[in-house]
Amino acid sequence: MALPSNSPLVELARSIGSGIAAGYADQVDNDARFPREAVTELKNQRLLSCYVPKSLGGHGATLTELALMCEELGKHCGATAMVFAMHQIQVACLVHHSLTDSFFASYLTDLAHNEHLIGSVTSEVGVGGDMRSSVCAVELDGSSFVLNKNSTTSSYGAEADDLLVTARTSPAAPSSDQSLVLLRKGQFTMEQVGNWNPMGMRGTGSAPFKLCGRGQALQIMQDPFATISSRSMVPVSHLLWAATWVGNASASMARVKGFIKQQARAKPGTLPPTAIRMAELAPNIQLLRTSYRYLLTEYEEILSNPQRHEELSTVGYAVKMNNLKLSGSHLIVEIANKALQICGVAGYKNDSKFAMGRILRDSHAAALMVGNDRILNSNANMLMILKGD
């Protein structure tokens, strides 16, 4: 799919990014607080529901548009971009897997009118970071259920209107037999049971929570979580996360360019000593951008053809998407680190217009949000059986 360079949605995200998100980014980072101003504006502009099909009242945005919006937000506030990305991952799971289900179609219509922020509760105490494993279970009693879960990290868990929660399908089910369950505002309590004072991505509020929820059986998605995970949650996560990192990388380059230009103006006619490093930085940004966009285009092609959907459940596809996460999370740290070296002390100072601190700290979250070692282990296992590379 061609990149929609003139998409009004991407334009809106650009404007919110360079305006409100940029204006509060340092305060959000300093105070480790939710970027409420930017997220409120995303709601006001009806961007939280933009991936909902037009037939249900949304904008019918493409995944490519979502990714470019993440890039735009990521240029100015990593936390805003990541909250937007994580919310859209939840929306994508609903849109890809539940459009024909009357309850969820009605929920998406409501989302398009009321711009609910959807949080994700996939992590859990006792599963060692494995999203495809649950301790908690959906406890059905007639047509209603109870669901209690101790999460290790639930991003914006204190701010989310609604939640998508993984759990075993029943108390008798094995840990890997999971469902994805929607809990709506008023149906749950989220008690924060730990602090959130991290190194970076401070505005995402990814603290541990104790969740207590109740709902109706029709709020349990019909597709097994195994299918939702491999076909939507994992690929869309890795694509949109990579898009936010590209935004982060662009922010690094913008500071570098500003710094080098300032030096060049001070000594007209001479190339500043670190300008060559700027030229070294550019290929890494290009690599990060092109690698995720290539996979994004491929994913959209597969999505548009139901006969190809099973390709998304293959070992080869899982390895490929994991590779994107691994390479992207390495590249973004390299990029941010190099940008700091180029800007030197001007980048090291927090009160400088070339300050790299927040960007560099945010970039280190990339390798940790779903730990790269876990992904490497998983890929090592899968590569043993995969014939291609």
Binding site: R132, S133, S176, D177, M382, I385, L386, K387
Partner: protein, 78 residues
Amino acid sequence: MQDKIRKILRDHGRLAVDVTTLSDTSDLYQSGMTSHASVNVMLALEGEFDVEFPDNMLKRSVFESIASISSAINQLKN
């Protein structure tokens, strides 16, 4: 062939239930086989039946039951 597949599932599938209680069409993933364990099952199957699963067969639906596994192996054998 089903018996050999059951033995492999018992040794490598890390199922949450006794493999003898499974029918040929029981869902192995619902019986507790993880993605990680399924790779070990695939490796053992390739060794036991002297076949190589091409990459387009390395997907959940091929390994979801004893019946689907034996069908895949038969397809490769022929």
